[in-house]
Symmetry: C2
Subunit: 418 residues, 2 copies
Amino acid sequence: MTQILKGNIVAAPELGRLDITEHGYLTAEDGKITGVFADLPERYRQCDVQDWGDCLILQAPADMHVHGPQYAMMGLGLDKPLLEWLQSYAFPTERRFTDLGFAREVYRRLAHDLIANGTTRVAMFSSLHTDATLVLMEELEKAGIVGLVGKVNMDQNGAEGLQETTEGSMAETLRWLEGCERFTRVRPVLTPRFVPSCTGELLAFLGRLAAERDLPVQSHLSENHQEIELVARLHPDCPNYGGVYAKYGLWTDRTLMAHCVHSDGAERAAMKAAGVTVVHCPNSNNSICSGIAPVRKMLDEGLKVALGTDVAGGSHLSMFGAVEDALRCSKDRRILDNWETPHLTVAEAWYLATTAGERFFGAKGGFAPGDPLHAVVLDDSRLLTPYPLTVRDRFERCVYQRQDGWLRAVWSEGRQVL
Amino acid sequence: MTQILKGNIVAAPELGRLDITEHGYLTAEDGKITGVFADLPERYRQCDVQDWGDCLILQAPADMHVHGPQYAMMGLGLDKPLLEWLQSYAFPTERRFTDLGFAREVYRRLAHDLIANGTTRVAMFSSLHTDATLVLMEELEKAGIVGLVGKVNMDQNGAEGLQETTEGSMAETLRWLEGCERFTRVRPVLTPRFVPSCTGELLAFLGRLAAERDLPVQSHLSENHQEIELVARLHPDCPNYGGVYAKYGLWTDRTLMAHCVHSDGAERAAMKAAGVTVVHCPNSNNSICSGIAPVRKMLDEGLKVALGTDVAGGSHLSMFGAVEDALRCSKDRRILDNWETPHLTVAEAWYLATTAGERFFGAKGGFAPGDPLHAVVLDDSRLLTPYPLTVRDRFERCVYQRQDGWLRAVWSEGRQVL
């Protein structure tokens, strides 16, 4: 099957680089991109062209850190400090996922709303409930979303109704992995909630599982100071927070670590050496007052950094919004650093939201030939135009001016899903 | 004429205080509020009730700093530093307002979109073009918006095509004021762009005009460090930036000063003494990297602080968004102050967006009897509910979860305008 999309094609293949092809052609065969062309190649001359006129055609973004169950409580309780927020809002919500009817309702809506926001790839936390996690994976796959979902492991420092025994957690993880076999697009990722919520025994089990079954891993790292101090008390033998994950075999180039707001130079160097991907979550870092992550520094040091909404520490589901949040966070960082650190540009933040995440999934990114087709069509024709705008100007504006109905089409792994 | 609105009524009469009347009645006669009641008073028993079911009924917000012409370029160029942004985006846009057809198109859309966002009161900058300013006032008034609009004065340090002679600026100001006589809801406010763009002669003229005709004043103050240094060089006789406005009679309890990010203790004390209202513009302060305003400190010191979108240094028109921006800014400030300064709560930020602005217009705020009826009805029924929520929870969530079509109705000065 050949697909040809015509429009103003914007790709972010490298940090800070934008490749813009005005009124160009994005082509795919059997769901894989074959190229971006200013003129349609001879071999496609007989094929149907989907002409999107003056619309923008962008890579579909990847949300690399999002808590599925918390979607039900997005925007609630954000005046509260972290622990009170967890106890009063997040945990009561997560507890409800023993109810599979409720899970089905929330996860169907979540899957729909992800697509409606143009997000086609995710790395997502579920709750600790095995069956609800399988419902989540089913609903995502049905909607056409691709990526990773993890049943959460938590055998200490949990909350009422939200803690497993060590043995229970291991057994449920194996049962969950068995249940995952039927899914082809949404695959499992091992998900210890974070170091304080897992015993060493459980972490060691998960590390062995990751190695034996070649599974990716996701967790949280150095989000706030209290958490870092707690981890230091729990694991005095480890050099830092990240060292705990490393000790248990959960620290590889298939590892996603959310936040890393307060990772020091040694921890950042360890991430770089191991090939760990940082998932920057600017909205959440602000919402629950964690801090202002030094993203420019991480990028300058050569770390891999992708972007996440972190719903519902983050207050919205839009990755276009997450790009705006990343820009705002980097401008805060600039102010905080006495205007000495350059803020991110829209092109850079958009790269974090797209190619950086795609690479974790094995793609090259930036509409590279061979990659699965993940794309969105944006129609900005209803916006005011003070004078003729470049495609680059229009692309930049789209991050800030998100309009109802502007998303005209979405493709995920070559399939049109909106 | 009697109006009775039934729903969950949320009022913010004082900083941090929320008065919530579940399934209550908000009543008005001839466009003026007569009260909020848990039970409908006897005298209204025969009147029609508009029953909004489980919806929220809130005060309509007031945008106290917004640049009308820049709406045409909202979201453009925000990667650029201030001066380049002005030269490449803002000034080319403002220059176009010699074209009254263009002005009509932009201002009609702006007026419509303000109402669509629930904003019914504004303090707005126009450009220096007298005729386009009158078009702006006409379109706002037609749409049902109430408030202040100012023709901008700029007789030095302008840009090509965007500078007046001193005499020209004075004459055009008088011509504009004459043109304003036909408007009843949208009234003039004297608007020197900021100190660097006006000669002392022009500032003195505007100060006399303010006194003679009892006119309010709006301008910018202490937005960024370079600007403050420039003002100090231009006016070495004045103790600080604000002192220049004071020297020329532009510093009273009818004065709005946007930004005040870097106002020091003396300048803040002078604002308090004179009764000047600070207009906090958190989105813009971040977008163009001005700084992180110490709003909590200003409030603790007893300054009057209202809220503005500052389109298009600000990237959106929604005052619900401005509330979210104010919360984010205050959380940044908390982080910056080593977690020692309490961030704003939703209730506090909402007070800044409503009652604080209303008071500048002579209302008491918080749905007080005698105030003109400005209200919005929000329908959050499409949002997910993890467990039964309080009205307060739902109100707080609405700031973060702004949905398409959630605004069911808007009243401005007693008139239903949406």
